[in-house]
Amino acid sequence: MFSSSVTRRRVAFAFVLPAFVLLLAISIYPLLRTLGLAFSSLELTVSPAESFVGFDNFAKAFQDVRFWNAMGNTLVLVIVGVAIQLVLGVGLALLLSEIGFTRVVWLTALLLPVMIAPVVSGFQFRVIYNDTFGPLNYLIKTISGGFVTGPPWLADTRTALLTIMMTDVWQWTPFMMLLALAGLESIPVELTEAAEVDGAGYWGAFWRIKIPILLPVIVIGLLIRVMDTFKTFDLVFLLTGGGPGSSTETIAFYTYLNGFRFFSMGYTAAIAFIQLIVIIVIARIFLVVQKRMRGGEIQ
């Protein structure tokens, strides 16, 4: 195809260079610095002195009940919450792809949640979920004629995490929806129509044609959502402060407390690296799927 593999490599490198330089320049120092800190004690509230402590920070993390509780809460949000976003998002995308000229209106309307900054939506939901003053339980009661009383959404350890999850689903399902829709748009109509004509029916065409083509895009969407859900902070900070009790303390919130409230930099670095490792493991699993779906390569 090309005059030589040298040219090919040079072109490939030139294409990737800007991204490479930017990412390397900005992320390498923080990464190395944090790696060093993970094996050090640095308590900035008392002194700027740093000392090497080996694996102490990691040992502490493994015994830290709050750390594991926060990990557990986060994994619930990641696994259950993102799964809901995936199903709802792809479902809505399929529906929208069937709609004709009014689609712009629907699309714009359904994308609104994603455009509202979490610092804004957090304050809205704090009122919406309020049992005493909020509209949600008021409407539940009014519409049901007084028979159903809504739970104290954020004030009960049994519902608070689910409520945070519901809010996250509200905010980010549109993200999955638009990704899936964009993926669906790149499927040639002829393919699905041919399949349907062949007698595969709507669902047959859906599973055989649409899903395989959608899969790479969906996997990337999922990967991004998993990574970002691991960082769930704003909603927790604004809606519950991690409570009641420890029921909504997420790992990002706990990391924030250690980093920006306690300025316990060694421990913060250690738990940051544990998170990184967990996310890498999850990402690797996703990418096994992604790899199987890879498209053609220019030879």
Partner: protein
Amino acid sequence: MLKKVFFLAVALALLALPALAQDAPPRLNVVDYDLCGDFGGVTVTVVGDAGHNLAPYHFWADDFAAMGITIEIIEVPFADVYQVLKTEFVAGSGAFDVVTFYPSYIGDFAGNGYLLPLDDLMAREPASVWDPNMDDVLAPFRELYNKWGGQTYALTIDGDVLVMMYRADLFSNEDEKAAFMEQYGRELRPPETWSEWLEVAEFFTRDAGETLAGEVLTQPFYGTAEFGRRGFSYAWYLNRAASNGVMLFDEQMNPGINSPEAVAALQNMIDTLKFAPPDVLNFGYDELRDAFIGGQLAMVVQWTDVPKKAADPSISRIAGKVGVGRVPGFEVGGEVAHRSMMPVGRVVGVAADSDVPEAAYCVAKHIAYNTSLENVSTSLTGLDPYRMLHLTHPEAFAPLMGQENAEAYLAGLQVALADGYPDLFIPGAAQYQDALDIQVNRALAGEVSAQEALDAVAAAWNEITDRLGRDTQVAFWQQALESYRALGLVK
């Protein structure tokens, strides 16, 4: 298309609006003061929590101009002040001259050398220019929130303390009094002790359809509510614990937080929740305030700005029906000891690496000096009184709430401040507070028992002390104890 045109029009309309001149309260001219000399056009950068608490820098703009000082203000969201200040300090960026912060962090900021000791500047002659009149500042603020290691590093600009508020109309209602007498065999009165608090809370908790003071309730009414949300639930707990004689640590910094007295105090708070709205565990300052001034609670413990709001009929359904009293206490040795926590509050300091320390000091002093009577007596700020001078000038507050209310308010404040109990202010304070807060909150949420929760606090506190360096932390704590003793908070 129409939509776009509309948005564009709105955007343009907003752009076209002239900038608003900053409001300032009318000058009271109660206080005489002299200004520092002319600094000849220096710029002083002030950092503080965004919003109305920075308004005094506008009130006194003419005086700063007269001193040849240009003020540049950096506004930081309230919840993020500490992390922003600390990051800039750690990086040694030198971005600030005057720093506004919460006194809990004085040990951190002064101990790490971020702040300039002010004693030399305060002692300069002539005193009419340099002396901030510290003797007039109420003792808890002066001794606990301004000093570190025997030196003054900060000047108070906002006094915060908790008080009890109650529905005076309900407590004086004859039907209710009779019913209470019948049920509990004693007179109905605003609770003096935390066990009375429980009884009164139970008494006033009613379902919709029941009667309260002769009126049929259309919605449930509750005896009380607490700050149940993570963040400050520990302060509502410490009101109880401190009055029950609990010392956070002993001399050697062994936690005293899981003593039987401490557990009893927490159990009292847990029991109170039965007489609170169902979502009390997500009540922060706003919910707690509005549930009370919306007429749904019989009594509540709150910051001292809430009585001002409860007296305002445009936002309050209970204007004119509110009594202010001492936060209840526990009976210890036949006497009721009252303790009111003093969470938050604001102080200003001068950054150690400021290029213009003298000008910065003059700015800080001018905001904190006797002149502050005008800052704390207006609705244009959220600052609360902290000087004797403030407490003895009700006429300054009269335009806001009327002479009579002002006198009652300041009297209540004085009583509450006399019971004042400080937030922790040694380095690492935020960690100790958080460790306490989460466990108190877990106990309130029923995740663990009171004893388990406080045992966990003790363990967490020991871990924090060890991690930060036990020897130095003990020394800091003993130094803090000195101040506690000076104020008579401990024997």
